[in-house]
Symmetry: C2
Subunit: 330 residues, 2 copies
Amino acid sequence: MSDRVTIKSIAQDLGVSHMTVSRALSGHPNVRADLRRSIRDRAAALGYVRSAAASVMRGDGARVVGLLLPGLVNEFYARFADAFGRCCEDLELHLTIHLTNDDAERERLSIRRLRELEGAVVVMVPTPGVDGSLDLIPANMRVIHLIRQRSRPRRASSLLVDDGVSISEAVSHLVRTGHERIAYIGAGRTLSSGRERLRSYTKAMRAHGLDPDPALVRTGSPSFEMGRTNALSVVRGTKPASALVCGGFEISNGALDACLCAGLSLPEDLAFIGYGDPSFYRWIQGGISTVALPVDELARVAASMLSPGNAASAPRSNSLPTSLVLRGSG
Amino acid sequence: MSDRVTIKSIAQDLGVSHMTVSRALSGHPNVRADLRRSIRDRAAALGYVRSAAASVMRGDGARVVGLLLPGLVNEFYARFADAFGRCCEDLELHLTIHLTNDDAERERLSIRRLRELEGAVVVMVPTPGVDGSLDLIPANMRVIHLIRQRSRPRRASSLLVDDGVSISEAVSHLVRTGHERIAYIGAGRTLSSGRERLRSYTKAMRAHGLDPDPALVRTGSPSFEMGRTNALSVVRGTKPASALVCGGFEISNGALDACLCAGLSLPEDLAFIGYGDPSFYRWIQGGISTVALPVDELARVAASMLSPGNAASAPRSNSLPTSLVLRGSG
DNA sequence: ATGAAAGCGCTAACAT
DNA sequence: ATGTTAGCGCTTTCAT
């Protein structure tokens, strides 16, 4: 009654061999035109869809793409997943999203599950701290590191953002508007992207003849809580910061939460430069200044990196520039 | 060299039959303890993962769950996908997320793709306006309608929110604080959930002896743009609204955007009650009042509805209450 | 132009 | 306790 419609069942139905049905449906020339039509009609009427499992078993490739993200609640990740998802639909790829919560063990499990599905590609925001999980990735699975990069990229391609210029601009802008005690809260040193951001900040400070106060420079896990805690302590104390530059999505939101909960007026009490550009930043107080990432373009480029065709399958690196968006907060 | 590790390759490797390997790995008792151990060790060392495709072909069920959402940019959907994704990982289910953009054709395609994967369940926020796409769903696929409900639910289970009480409370609260010209912008009549919300609003207005001004009641597509446009026109004109109640996530954000871009102070210029409770609502002006949905609980209940086991597989309906969160805006 | 056979990875059902 | 067979849906190869 409700059995799956297969080429075999259609073949039986029409009294032909299942091979004829296969040929008819896959556009092989050697099928009589009228027969092809009636087969196609019957298939459509019965709602036939070809079994992905059978294709995979035959070795046709699973057309499954895995996207490993820390979470979806941060609007940057949500926007990326959204845009990337649309690209995948256009490419007729099955997108499976896995949330790692920035936890290495979950990341490991997700890759394992992706292997079960015989996924062809994994686009991942690598969790900080661990370098090993690439070992789990089979040789035929392509890896694209997104935003963050591990120390030993090896076989992985990467799609990063070049935020050095924006961070420099942020510091310059703050100095220009009279700030000297400019704090930085960003991702830890285990990620090369984290190191880069910190370096940009430090370099920009020095370029303006300012020596970064170690008490105002905080690195650690790229989490909301980390941003919240450090923002609080950076604006308190005997020599508080007068400006803050964030180097991470969750960190930025955490820091912002801390400032707003503490009743701070931005930029009067603290000049604030966030990271990432969620839509609501422009609605908060006079608007939150921020380093904005080209989300849609990132998704497009990521999608273009999915097909191994357009170049040698050697690991490639792409980098897209960020931009500094100045609003009321600093 | 880099061929897939299968039970057969392991069997050859160890000089046993592939069935012994299968038994050893799946915990069948009839395998010598020491042999089982060496098989398991070898499998682990080689990084064996069982092929999902093969399981599916055998009819073991694909353990694939589809989640069809309008998009991921709205924080409610992102939060739901996030929480639901974690539930799926716990249940060892493969979650594939499809973005419909509230477009019936995309919805149709997504369901088709899910059929290719022989997905077992689809959790979907149905697109407005179309009732037909359920026809595409094979008899063995379970359907759970989320948040919205089509007119003819038929075989579909549903997981809705009961927001009638919150909307009534919102209206009562506004009346109590002196408002009479209370506007409502919500989802259209093609969705039973949209009709319900509108009815709650109307009923609450009447209960306070107020006759809703038709010019202040707007329904349509549940989109950002729809909310933006209608909010603008509702606060302008000769007899503008003094308060606004929103009945939809995107509508709420769109309306909020319109108000903030127009430079309105909430609640001085307009008392505002949003829908959904994105984290940033509490950061805007004095905080945006809103109808809050129990996202995590929705995800948990949705996950519990995935297994057909705990009751007859007849369509079930669950409904979770929303709550009214009052902040500064109204 | 059409069909039959084989094999992809796996396990239930039979041997042994 | 271990091995052999068959079949899930599909296409490639080899007949007819």
